[in-house]
Amino acid sequence: MKVGVPRTLFYYAYSPFICSFFEELGVEVVVSELTSKKIIDEGVEDAVSDACVPIKLFHGHVKNLLNKVDFVLVPRLVSVNDESTFCPKFLGLPDMLESSLPDFDNMLEVRVDTKGKRSELFKTCLKTAGTLGIGFFKTLRAFNKALKNYEEYKRKFREGTIPYLGVESRDKNSDVIIGVVGYPYILYDSYLSLDIIKKLISMGCHVVTPEMLAEEEKRREDLKLRKLLFWTFSNGVLRASYNFIRENKVDGIIHVTAFGCGPDFIVDKLLELECKEKNVPFLTVTLDEHTGQEGVNTRLEAFVDMIRIKKARKEAAVS
């Protein structure tokens, strides 16, 4: 049996768990190809026109898998902790696909609503394995293995490796440290993000991303908001950025976002206001299917140059 995993959205946050779980169950996992122009074009064709690029991309990745596998995994991510849910588009994802891809009849829909409880997550896994005709003990073993694999992946991230890009982001000798914040499915998709992280590293910068902070560390961060944001990934981005700013970990922050992203207009404005108050250079890079590499490069270069000049001035003033 073959299960297809679209290489976008949840993939860049949970694939180490998902892929190793299925593999341990003895199911062959087929991950869709790396994002390419072809995949984006195919997604744009069928997705509703004002959806954000990641959603369009998801359509493309599903189409990339359709005829290669028995099932294509489409999770309905509702909650993974006790304080927030996911963006409405994640909640409605299977419904959207069912309507916009009429010949998609092998969807493996998995509703994930764990509220942060491990037992709930196991129940979800059990149910999924059950639909594939796999029993309790095999599932339990796969579940434990998947958890271990996931912890390992998170540890690697905290140590500064970005597994999806195959790069080490930390070079202690860099003169500029930049916090690159955004959702994992944008940051770590080379094609979609126009390789912003690699570009910055090649410019001699040291890059930190939200995934490099432990969950508990992020949770401690006070957002000074009356109400926590509703969305898991958004809270992650915001808390990580506040942490970077408060502990003076970065010389500047780059927020990478998708055109028309619903939650991000709030995240982006809050970040802008916070950076302004704390006098931290801030840049927003908005991406969609038409964004060109050169324009982004120019902006990144200008941003890094500006930080270097600012730092040089500061040092001159001190000495």
């Binding site: 409405p88 409605g92 419904d95 309507s99 509703f230 969305w231 619903g262 207009f265 709030i266 206001l273």
Partner: protein, 375 residues
Amino acid sequence: MRKVSFPFVGTANIPFENLMRAFGNDVILPSRPTKETLSLGTKYAPEFACLPFKIVLGTYIEVLEKGANTLVSTGGVGPCRAGLYTALQEKILKSLGYEFEMITLEPPSRYLKDLIQNIKKLINVKLSFKDYIRIAKFIWKELQLLDKAEKLSHKVRPLEVKKGEASLAYKKAVDLVREAKDLKELLEVEREIENLFDKIDKKDIDPIKIGIVGEIYVLLEPSANLEIEEMLGDLGVYAERSMFLAGYTFYNAIMDLFRRPGEMDVKKEAMPYFKEMCGGHGRESVGNAIIFAKRGFDGVIQLSPFTCIPEIVAKSILPRVCEKYNIGFLPVTLDEQTGKEGLRTRIEAFVDLLSARKKKNFIKGDAKNGALFGY
């Protein structure tokens, strides 16, 4: 003294103004949003904020300039972002240098204590239990009458012989409600409103019927939806909206208190196509479209602000639903760039299409449309 103000939503400002006054506050009335309001909001709002956010932010700036020191608005529990708007708007306005208190009325089921505290802040006179009952009855009747007048105007506008009479009658009805002092007067106004619409000369035709679904603010506030209902009425279409003030208040404030999900039938209809609550009114849009179809409507128009997430989910589902129930579908996305003439052209084309379809079905004797008379 508190100088209270609030966003402008359709005719809701009338009962809300009365409520705030009855509680002993000074009220700075927001005026109907204009182009200037929107450009003020657009100037200070983030680019991808939705149209309601921009209009409301613009309105806040206008009322703060007029001297308001307390802004009252509603919250929400998500995952639609509108529940976070006041938090962000407060930050933006304070960064512009305005001083005021933002009071957010959250839904009672999750924030009951908070809600009571906030309401207490807004009650600045001593009221007896009897007073509360009197105020509640009065406000509720006002809400009902405003909805009634609006529904009547939708019904009569496509049938009027002399163009513009229904709109005039509606304006008059709103004024009557606004001027009524107590419940007794309101009861008299009710009869008067019915009379106003009765008096209009009507044609005896069966108009094209279009249901309007979508996001609540653009649905309720005509200046945000470019008066689409009037536009449809003038084209001889009977347009019915899926959401009205009184109903919405009832389901979201009162039923919520008892933790009863509102509008069960709408949700049930939407279930096969839209399995997860995803905030806003996305699921209601799908459910209401199905209900309109079952009631024999010819088409559905979905109104959504640009970048509205729940409505985008609904928008990808609605074409399939409308195809299945064999009714027309027109999605309308609104932002600060949307022009009235462009919208009118699209609406005209849509109405032409629906009437052509209706005629064809009639001639063919389509059983579904109940016209089997041997042509």
